[in-house]
Symmetry: C2
Subunit: 402 residues, 2 copies
């Protein structure tokens, strides 16, 4: 930015200590910059993270030391300066996007699956597989604020901690999550010091993942143990959990499922929801007003992520093995597949830029991330990354449930 360049200053990390030791440039230079066009790419094989710039489509730095990052996810702080990375080893790691350095890391559980940051930005919640339950930490100090063991009574009368999945933030400074073995949905209210928990029981067998709609109203859990889904309307919690889409799942034939689809990726476009069928080469369409199934769209493979471009005019689909070498684009007006792309081998994740002009797609076994123009489908950049998986941009800091 020519006009800005004179003001843009390369600043040594730790200017105060620099001032103490005199005018020598420290090793790592930190640039004064906005954080609105930053993002991270999980590099699962090396336990590292690629810090990226979505304006210049470049990798700024690769940062190591995050532990086991298979299936890792990321949440951003309210000021979009820090990323919290939830690792499979129970590690909770905070990355400073400006210095490109880890400035906090704890092992908070044995095996964590993801988490969320509260509406007010003060708390980060982590859902655990081992030993189960949810732990909530202060975003600034990373000290434990509340421990929710998620205890349930087993059939034999003894108690145990349930694996926690589908942790999301919702308005009212609440967290919502599901208990796998217990078949329950819980809400945790962080708006008062009581940290009140509300339990919804008998919601269905083995909730394995969940999604929250963009307005934070509908929490929907997918069930591994039976067909159908569990819906909690947070605007009307007094109605309890309802069952929707009774045929959704593997069905009586128990179709071979290569990988259970991600629910977080459900695409909402107007009053339509586009979502992955289980075990079938189909994207399903439902009317969100009554959750009735309205259409099946044939696609290249078993869909994993079905994501809406921010303007809702396109839905982009990735697939399970062995068809995970393609990405397809559906037009939400015609419901037709309008494009099939081949970004590489083992395509794992994708992320739209905030206003949707570009999409970034990770191809794990090709060792790169490909950036496309979503209007022309032109390839704009191909960036090297070590076994890239999840891609997350900082605008998520400002969205409910992201």
């Amino acid at each position: 930015m020519p006009l800005i360049r004179p003001l843009k200053t390369l600043i040594a990390a730790g200017a105060l200590s620099l001032l103490a030791v005199g005018p020598a440039l420290a090793e790592s230079a930190v640039e004064l910059r906005g954080t609105g066009d930053l993002g991270v790419v999980i590099e699962r094989a090396t336990g590292s993270v690629a810090l990226v710039d979505t304006t210049h489509k470049t990798v700024l730095k690769n940062i190591e030391g995050f532990g086991d990052l298979s299936h890792a996810s990321v949440k951003f702080t309210r000021d979009a300066r820090h990323a919290f990375v939830f690792g499979r080893d129970g590690g909770l790691t905070r990355l400073d996007l400006l210095t490109g350095e880890i400035d906090g890391r704890i092992i908070q559980g044995g095996n964590s699956i993801g988490g969320a940051i509260s509406q007010d930005g003060r708390y980060v919640a982590v859902g655990n597989y081992e030993p189960g339950g949810v732990k909530v930490f202060d975003v600034e100090t990373m000290e434990l604020v509340v421990d929710v063991p998620a205890t349930y009574k087993k059939a034999d009368g003894t108690t145990d901690q349930a694996k926690v999945v589908g942790v999301v933030d919702v308005p009212g400074n609440m967290f919502v999550f599901s208990l796998f073995e217990a078949g329950e949905i819980w809400t945790l209210d962080m708006s008062t010091e009581e940290h009140e928990v509300t339990r919804y029981r008998d919601i269905g067998s083995m909730p394995y993942d969940a999604l929250i709609t963009a307005n934070g109203r509908y929490y929907i859990a997918g069930l591994f143990g039976e067909d159908g889904m569990a819906l909690l309307d947070l605007w009307h919690p007094e109605k309890g959990v309802q069952r929707i889409l009774p045929d959704y799942g593997r069905g009586e034939e128990r179709l071979p499922v290569y990988k259970m689809p991600h629910l977080e990726g459900w695409a909402m476009a107007g009053s339509q929801a586009f979502f992955p069928a289980v075990g079938r080469n189909e994207v399903l369409v439902a009317d969100t007003r009554d959750w009735s199934l309205t259409q099946r769209i044939e696609v290249h493979g078993q869909p994993i992520f079905v994501m809406s471009r921010p303007d809702e005019q396109q839905v982009w689909v990735t697939f399970a093995h062995p068809n995970n070498d393609r990405v397809q684009v559906i037009d939400t007006r015609t419901h037709e597949v309008i494009e099939t792309l081949s970004p590489g081998e083992s395509i794992l994740h994708k992320e739209f830029t905030p206003r949707g002009e570009h999409i970034w797609i990770s191809a794990r076994d090709s060792g790169h991330v490909v950036v496309y123009d979503t209007r022309t489908f032109e390839e704009l950049a191909r960036l090297p990354a070590e076994s890239p998986s999840g891609i997350f941009f900082t605008h998520r800091a400002h969205r409910i449930g992201l």
Copy 2:
């Protein structure tokens, strides 16, 4: 943030020159910080801007030199580092939110009313009253890229430039705007070097403002010269401009209107639109599927801004003189007024924090901005400001049409 503090460095503005002159702290210290929780408040009387921090609810700095800021609006760059301020004197001023300094200012027209930044972040468009037309500048260099005079043929056969209102950005790297005297809507395509303009003629008499829905699909212009509104469906431009809400406006009785309501503030909640009646103490509700009017909600005065909390569960309403000392809150589930607040005199604008936990409200004649908790309606902070009007937070950088 205790754990971060050791890494957080107070850095003198212009560290390189600092290094050249030796270890002396320059006058203005610039903090390394994320830009996701920054914002600006327009101080219209003094032509200044208050730079604010929405996490700590504080004014960081007051910056002068923006010219005439009556009715000023603001757009943020893609990286959320800079704010472009559109002044009434035709000034286009760029503020660096990190240094708190103006780093670019041009007088690009005689009287500008607002503008937009393109989807790709490269272009800033300004709509002008005097001499009319739209000018598009490079966001980095602030050099003119394209000048669209918005010329139309008058009844006497001569041509003139029309006043341009309702400039918005939409997907496909386009700008959309309305021509007041001409009664036309134009689109300007910035995705190719041709900068193609498409005209929609005879859309109605004297479009005075416009709104774009959050997904960038519907562009709706309000008409000063007649009742009804003009709707352009950008997913189906071949259908041309349709007329909706035929009774919307001042009506045959020509009600006394204290101030034409802002259209930008239309609140969309699910398939309902909540919007200000013209000249009546009512908020109107329409079904966005067919744009039929479904309800009239009686409120405290003639509404000006009707804005939806990000979770769509509440709609907050400000009013025209002489009832501009109150703010009312409508529950979108029951359509009842659930709260009436008194933040001060001459309430002009309001802005929700990105995930909606707080709202900031400017009370011009009281010289302050009040921050409320939107769940408890508790007052959280009261910040001094010189005749505050518009409030804008950086998350707008990542939204279509904002």
